[in-house]
């Protein structure tokens, strides 16, 4: 057996009622390395990590640490063995402050009294190390999501005897700079002999930070390789089982001849406590065009959509729809005008979990199937069926609960809901977040298909490869400022990244662009 293996998992099965989440999976965590674990959604990554962290117990199979068999009946036992986990979803207490969050469950005490002085001191120290000095007394609920993620990470870093740190998509809500800091820290950790298990959907990241890669598919072990020996296409191939990548489309359209559907001038949104979330942002959208908006977290991308949908009545600026100025007041008016929004957070903002699949699709357009307030079930069902077919949602029965669908199909339901309102302009906020590569490709196909039919779309994405593949034109936002606009062949990953940092150099850039 390899000397460097700190944790060895052998032939693990995990059976849930009616399904096998893990099927005879063996996995080794190497000491002082970044061990990457990847696979599509539902491949079993998170289940495997939960077993290692003691959140779930295997149905059969064994785990060894340093040659000795171990069994964790809960997270406390796993933690005693030096295993920490950073969850994909934040598990913080927004009602408590920074140091209370960091020391929750492992408080420093003097007798029965909490030693808050020590808490603050250690918190300042760990946050300084993470290069994120945040006042230890701040309420966590008041922090940006990226900062909250840092608190979550800090929570694990204060553990002294840490041997293995599991990170489940830690970068999904971090900005580029924050990711850099995190990566530097990860390297520092591995130098101290701590092993990191790293789960991510961002393949570029894996190539950058990973030492070795293990790939799961459908609950089974597929392959393991050293990162130095492989490339991204190889990983994708292993994950999906066949050669699949984002198809780049080539549309030969003379955009100058197309009419302008939407024009936005000097869109400005003040930030509470001074400054701007959006600072005189102007752009336009042609009929049948896919306009990409790229930018880092907090660059103001989602806020553009919120302004257009009437969720931010405090905005200023001009919005022209088909040349006519419109006053954006509230969301139902905007939907009637032909705007539709696919929100970023599918579970929180897109779906109603208590309603069935069909109702989730028709929810936004029920009025269309009503006479005197009464629903025409036949008409409604026909539309739902057509929409399900049109965007290829894999549904056994539309009366089933929404929970019975996979993430990708749930996302398609949200998209279907937007399209069913028969919009002129469709706004998609991170339409491929948290869904597997197969479903991503299908979502991009839907976007293309509808653009070809004359629907105008604006797509927000923080994945470079995606936005390069789907957008006809890209505008880049940085710190609320429009810092760049690129068409067709000009769109490349380098120029987008470059522009996405421009807004942070003060306000000189603003004048050039506004």
């Amino acid at each position: 057996m390899n000397q460097n293996v700190v944790l060895n998992v052998e032939n693990i099965d995990k059976i849930y009622p009616g399904t096998k989440a893990l099927d005879q999976v063996s996995y080794q965590v190497e000491k002082g390395k970044v061990n990457v674990l990847i696979g599509e959604n539902g491949a079993g990554k998170s289940t495997l990590m939960k077993i290692i962290a003691g959140i779930e117990q295997p149905s059969s199979g064994k785990m060894f640490m340093d040659g000795k068999e171990v069994f964790f009946k809960d997270t406390t036992e796993a933690r005693e063995h030096g295993i920490g986990i950073i969850h994909q979803e934040l598990s913080l207490f927004p009602n408590l402050n920074v140091y209370q969050n960091i020391f929750m469950g492992r408080e420093c005490t003097q007798g029965a009294k909490l030693n808050n002085k020590k808490h603050v001191e250690l918190t300042d120290k760990v946050l300084a190390k993470l290069e994120h000095p945040i006042d230890a007394e701040t309420l966590v609920g008041d922090l940006r999501v990226g900062q909250q993620q840092m608190i979550e990470i800090a929570r694990n870093f204060i553990q002294d005897d840490l041997k293995i740190l599991i990170m489940d998509e830690p970068t999904s809500s971090l900005s580029q700079q924050e990711v850099e800091v995190l990566f530097r820290l990860m390297r520092e950790f591995t130098q101290h002999g701590i092993s990191i298990v790293y789960i991510s959907h961002r393949l570029e990241e894996i190539m950058k930070i990973g030492d070795n890669v293990t790939i799961l598919r459908d609950g089974k072990y597929v392959a393991r390789a050293e990162v130095s020996d492989i490339d991204v296409p190889w990983i994708v191939q292993q994950m999906v089982g066949e050669g699949k990548s984002y198809p780049k489309k080539n549309r030969n359209v003379n955009w100058k001849e197309k009419e302008t559907v939407l024009e936005v001038k000097d869109l400005t949104l003040p930030k509470s406590g001074g400054g701007y979330l959006l600072d005189h942002v102007s752009f336009h959208l042609k009929k049948g065009e896919v306009l990409g908006i790229y930018g880092l977290m907090g660059a103001g991308r989602t806020e553009v959509f919120e302004c257009l949908m009437g969720l931010r009545p405090e905005h200023t600026g001009e919005v022209l729809l088909n040349g006519q100025p419109v006053e954006v007041k509230n969301i139902s008016e905007q939907i009637d005008r032909g705007f539709a929004l696919i929100p970023e957070d599918r579970q929180r903002e897109g779906l109603v979990q208590t309603l069935n699949i069909g109702k989730n699709i028709s929810l936004s357009s029920l009025k269309k199937y009503c006479r005197f307030g009464f629903l025409n079930g036949k008409k409604e069902n026909a539309s739902i069926d057509k929409q399900i077919k049109d965007i290829m949602i894999k549904v056994a029965d539309k009366k089933l609960p929404i929970l019975s669908l996979s993430g990708g199909n749930q996302q398609k339901v949200v998209i279907g809901k937007g399209i069913l309102t028969n919009p002129e302009i469709l706004l998609l906020d991170e339409p491929s977040r948290g869904i597997d590569i197969g479903a991503k490709t299908e979502v991009f196909d839907i976007i293309h298909q509808y653009a070809e039919r004359g629907l105008s779309l604006i797509v927000i994405s923080s994945e470079l490869k995606e936005i390069v593949a789907i957008a006809d034109r890209v505008i880049v936002l940085s710190n609320g400022i429009n810092t760049g606009e690129f068409e067709q062949d000009e769109i490349s990953e380098d120029v987008l990244v470059l522009s996405s940092y421009k807004g942070h150099h003060g306000h000189e850039t603003k004048k050039e662009n506004s």
Binding site: G18, P343, V352, Q353, T354, K359, L363, G373, S404, S406
Partner: protein, 348 residues
């Protein structure tokens, strides 16, 4: 093979769970029929139904509110106020001191005015909750006290008795609400009518689906273009209307209105809704379920009284029944989620 067997088992359990309220009701009726003489008679049935009409109508209003994820604690007090308003209008009329006259209204007008008072209280609840952003529990706790205070102020704490009206004033007939129509109590007829309307709205209108969506995920509902604040306010207005109707029926049944009428009835309304499968978390509930829930409470109340169980023990038993109902409800939801996940995995 083992798998398919388990799936079948789950489906059987599910069917039993879905029909559980009816099953429990049937068991209770049989139980009391066996242990109590004269329980299983038409007379007892009508008495039980008369009581059930009160919890039932109030419970249906409550069901709507609970579906949106809110709660309405003011229902009992609004019912009490409605009784006082109606009783006062019939016995004393609308006193206009500046003109030195009292205006008397016909019974249907009294009914309408009182219903409007209930709706107004509902609107007040809705406005406090949606415009002033006060959580429903506190908002309706406040209006509960306001309504109770007003009903005492109306008569200085006294009872309006013998509210039948006078022929000379042309305001006879209000007490018909407490009588029978073709042998069936009017309250029960109203319960059935309201339940049918509420059921149809919930299932076959866009408004119904909109309030189900609001309770299921308010943010998603808002982003889907649903007018969340308006719909919520309408729901509280409906609850207020139901409460005022209950207050009038109760007053008519007793031919008197007392300012303390309806104290604690909000708990019966909540219990009826929850027993009938309404989720306190919002998004789930039916009018039919609430009626069955109301019947369970009614049968337990009257059955135990007839059997001679003390009122104190009745409370203990009712408390246990409600908690059990919620526990079973959660069990059902977990099973449902499990079956949905199962279906998802089989689709793969």
């Amino acid at each position: 093979m083992e798998k398919s067997k388990r799936v079948n088992n789950n489906e059987i359990i599910m069917t039993l769970l879905k029909g559980r309220t009816l099953i429990i009701l049937a068991i209770l009726v049989i139980l009391f029929s066996v242990i109590t003489k004269n329980f299983f008679t038409i007379n007892t049935g009508l008495t039980v139904a008369k009581h059930v009409a009160l919890y039932g109508i109030m419970g249906i209003g409550m069901t709507y509110v609970l579906i949106t994820g809110g709660i309405d604690l003011s229902v009992g007090a609004v019912a009490g106020l409605a009784g006082m308003v109606a009783g006062g209008l019939i016995n004393e009329g609308l006193v206009l001191p500046m003109f030195g006259v009292s205006l008397y209204f016909s019974a249907p007008m009294v009914f309408l005015i009182t219903a409007l008072v209930g709706i107004a209280f509902g609107w007040l609840n809705g406005a406090i909750i949606t415009k002033l952003n006060v959580v429903p529990f506190i908002a309706t706790l406040g209006t509960m006290n306001i309504a109770r205070g007003l009903s005492n102020l109306r008569s200085g704490g006294a009872t309006f008795s013998n509210i039948v009206g006078k022929e000379a004033l042309g305001n006879m007939g209000f007490d018909a609400l407490g009588k029978n129509l073709f042998g069936i109590p009017v309250g029960v007829v109203l319960l059935v009518v309201i339940a049918i309307i509420a059921g149809i709205i919930l299932k076959y209108t866009s408004f119904g689906w909109h309030i189900l969506a609001i309770g299921g995920n308010e943010r998603a509902a808002k982003l889907s273009g649903i007018k969340v604040n308006r719909d919520k306010t309408l729901v509280y207005m409906f609850s207020g209307l139901c409460s005022s109707i209950v207050g009038m029926i109760a007053a008519a049944q007793l031919v008197a209105s007392h300012p303390a009428t309806g104290e604690g009835w909000e708990m019966n309304a909540i219990s009826a809704a929850v027993l009938g499968g309404t989720s306190m978390a919002g998004g789930i509930g039916t009018a039919g379920g609430t009626i069955i829930g109301a019947f369970i409470i009614g049968v337990i109340n009257d059955g135990m009284t007839m059997y001679g169980v003390s009122e104190f023990w009745q409370k203990v038993i009712k408390g246990i029944v409600v908690i059990l109902a919620v526990v079973i409800d959660q069990f059902q939801r977990n099973l449902q989620a499990k079956m949905a996940l199962q279906a998802r995995n089989e689709n793969k």
